[in-house]
């Protein structure tokens, strides 16, 4: 604090507004520090995975930050697994399920946002409640259904199950964004002779694009990271990156460096995508949050 501010602060007439400025500055600082702290805590595991991936198996256990980096684990991982096949499956499954989700979620959310019925709120809550069921509880029936339908170890099977998993989130988020669009604009479009498709394409879509694109990003990330169903329903042909990581965990022997290399390879594409689109993601997620 400078001597001037000390003088101002000690002056009874102007101390109040100055204290407010000081307060808000302190608040900004505290929020900044808290934000950085949370970011560091969230990022720490990824940082640790990244450095462990470049250590030897023997050195993987030591917490040293200074070491001689090696690509040994990456070489081993590429020699042992067909990374490209896992990566392609992850891409197909996350993009496919996200597209299918929107095909169902957009009409559903449109109907619920602009033509609500007394049962709309209840339906929304019911949809979300399906997310609360533990997945393992329905493993066996789903497995049997997949076996009968010939969907075990197929990309289509995974797309189908991920669509079911993510649909409640897709509907909820799209519904929230649609609610931000004034119904009068759509009515005006209808008066001007817009068809239903035209209304969706030319009016609704551009207005809720940030929301829809951030929902898409979220759905892609959720599908990319889903491990329970992918591990249980695929084996050789349709296995995505989560199965690739699982194959490097072991109850006996040293495996941390290889597991870290595999994990880094698995999260890298989605991290880069998240990095590039973080602006849209944040603006979409906070879309309509402050009126």
């Amino acid at each position: 604090m400078s001597s001037h501010s000390f003088w101002y602060a000690s002056s009874p007439t102007i101390s109040k507004p100055l204290a407010n400025v000081e307060d808000s500055r302190l608040k900004t600082w505290l929020i900044g520090i808290a934000g950085w702290l949370i970011a560091l805590i969230v990022f720490f595991p990824i940082f640790w995975i990244a450095i462990t991936a470049f250590k030897t198996e023997q050195g993987a256990y030591s917490p040293d930050l200074i070491f001689k980096p090696t690509l040994e684990s990456f070489r081993e991982v590429f020699a042992r697994s067909n990374y490209k096949a896992y990566l392609l499956n992850s891409i197909y499954v996350s993009l496919g399920s996200t597209l299918l989700c929107f095909l169902i979620a957009i009409p559903a959310a449109y109907r619920m946002a602009f033509f609500p019925t007394p049962k709309t709120a209840g339906t929304l809550v019911w949809m979300m409640s399906t997310k609360m069921m533990p997945a393992v509880g329905v493993l066996l029936p789903v497995y049997l259904l997949f076996r009968t339908a010939g969907l075990l170890d197929s990309v289509w099977g995974l797309i189908f199950i991920y669509t079911l998993l993510n649909l409640p989130i897709a509907v909820w988020m799209t519904f929230t964004y649609f609610c931000e669009v004034p119904g009068a604009i759509l009515e005006a479009a209808r008066v001007d002779g817009a068809s239903l498709m035209g209304e969706l394409r030319d009016v609704l879509a551009p207005m809720s694009l940030p929301g829809i694109s951030s929902t898409a990003l979220l759905l892609i990330i959720l599908s990319w990271n889903e491990a329970f169903w992918s591990i249980n329903l695929t084996s050789a042909k349709a296995a995505p990156l989560t199965v690739f990581i699982a194959s490097y965990s072991s109850p006996e022997g040293l495996f941390w460096a290889k597991l870290s290399a595999a994990s880094l390879l698995a999260v890298a594409p989605i991290m880069v995508m998240g990095w590039l689109s973080q602006k849209q993601l944040v603006s979409g997620l906070t879309f309509g949050a402050v009126k």
Binding site: Y61, Y143, N232, S235, A246, S250, E252
Partner: protein
């Protein structure tokens, strides 16, 4: 028109039949991620070259995931896998339920009699073989020879648990981060219970009497748990309830523990200079004994089995027989050296000087494997088989509950008496529900 199409139809027919004649049989293998399996996957390209009509598809996962996947596949008869990797505990249980195909017509060169009888018995049901042992493990005492020498201690070839306690007490120096002993503490039927079962059997304990009444709240079990908790609290590392095989392997390999009693599978890693800081200081002795002469031993093997729903059972058996053969052991030796071959399944390996010379733990492993008898596991007669498990499907849940109760004692949240009382009640409930107890 039809006439014009005839040659095309004929040609298509020819092509289709030709392609089916050369069609490859795919064998999808569900396997666990461990060094032995990774080596097998690497060398399996030789098998594929020798057998161009067979294509191998590998699904390698972590042990718990493997169990879940294989059990789901077998119980639903989905035929996702043609060959599955299962433990000696599961083999007879799955065979009894008709999930597995019998292993028969093995080639003479396979020399099935060379495989340890205890492992063959463990993988059989009603005298028929249902799985082929790929590698086996038992229990041994691993200790730091240099620390023993420095304190003037000696390790008997077959120590008693009292000997272990005295040595651990002497060698513990917590101020220097040296722990006299490290043992499994992470709860789970295949985690802490694998060791505690071996300890309990050596102390004369049983899980059930001949009427399937649980016998956990007994003086023998109290003695066992008091021993385990005392030694772990006094001489063990902090936070022992999170330590499983790998954590203990790391503690010992990084020179922080003086004694470790665990699977013979650990010996190879501890003896490998690239993975262990104590490679030239480690020595091996047999598993400790209590009142039962062979009690400290356990017997476990990882086996290949063929699901009933397999689409290509013959090709699967052909590969399994190749992987479990004497020739395969030789192949691994040529590739990475004798010390890393799949141990514990074949007598001939232990007659091989090339192996015994480079693997000083071989003699101890052989003695442990020979002494282990899963069909007569305890001092008192029992209605079940299995050395560090009870060979019934309900055991996974019983073992894990008891393991959690014991971890609670180690963490200081309950007493030995409370844990055993709760464990006995849980075990009785499970066998009553399973229809064992009348």
């Amino acid at each position: 028109m039809i006439k014009r199409l005839l040659p095309i139809a004929f040609l298509t027919g020819c092509l289709l039949s030709a392609s089916s004649a050369f069609a490859q049989k795919t064998v999808t293998i569900a396997a666990v991620n461990n060094p032995q399996m990774i080596e097998l996957k690497k060398l399996s390209s030789k098998f594929e070259t020798e057998n161009p009509d067979i294509k191998l598809n590998w699904v390698i996962v972590e042990e718990n995931v493997l169990r879940q996947r294989v059990t789901t596949d077998l119980t639903t008869g989905s035929g996702q896998f043609d060959l599955v990797f299962i433990g000696i505990y599961e083999a007879p249980i799955f065979a009894k339920r008709g999930f597995l195909k019998e292993i028969s017509n093995l080639p003479a060169a396979f020399d099935v009699d060379d495989v340890f009888k205890s492992l063959r018995d463990g993988a059989s049901y009603q005298g028929k073989l249902y799985a082929m042992p790929f590698y086996g493990e038992s229990c041994m005492t691993m200790y730091r020879k240099d620390l023993f020498d420095a304190k003037g201690l000696t390790m008997a070839d077959k120590p008693t648990y009292e000997d272990i306690k005295k040595a651990a007490d002497t060698l513990t120096d917590k101020s220097k981060g040296m722990y006299g002993i490290t043992l499994r503490g992470k709860p789970g039927w295949g985690e802490n219970m694998a060791f505690i079962d071996a300890l309990a059997i050596s102390m004369g304990c049983t899980w059930f009497d001949m009427q399937w009444k649980a016998t956990l709240d007994t003086p023998e079990w109290r003695k066992t748990l008091n021993y385990y908790v005392d030694i772990m609290k006094k001489d063990g590392p902090p936070g022992a309830t999170t330590n499983g095989f790998n954590e203990n392997l790391t503690l010992f390999a990084s020179g922080k523990a003086a004694i470790w009693i665990d699977s013979t599978a650990g010996a190879g890693t501890l003896f490998d200079k690239s993975q262990s800081q104590v490679a030239d200081k480690v020595a091996f002795a047999q598993a400790p004994v209590g009142v039962a002469p062979n009690g400290g031993n356990w017997l476990w093997s990882w086996d290949f089995a063929i699901p009933k729903a397999s689409k290509n059972p013959d090709a699967a058996q052909k590969f399994a027989a190749w992987a479990c053969s004497k020739e395969y052991i030789k192949m691994v030796a040529d590739d990475t050296g004798w010390a890393t071959v799949p141990p514990g399944t074949r007598k001939s390996l232990y007659d091989n000087e090339a192996y015994t010379k480079v693997a000083p733990f071989a003699k101890v492993t052989l003695a442990a494997m020979a002494a282990a008898d899963p069909n007569n596991p305890t001092v008192k007669p029992v209605p079940y088989t299995g050395l560090q498990y009870v060979g019934i499907p309900e055991f996974q849940s019983i073992g894990t509950t008891v393991g959690q109760n014991i971890a609670g004692v180690l963490a200081g949240s309950s007493t030995v008496e409370q844990a055993l009382k709760a464990s006995e009640a849980a075990a009785n409930r499970a066998v009553k529900q399973g229809g064992y107890q009348k």
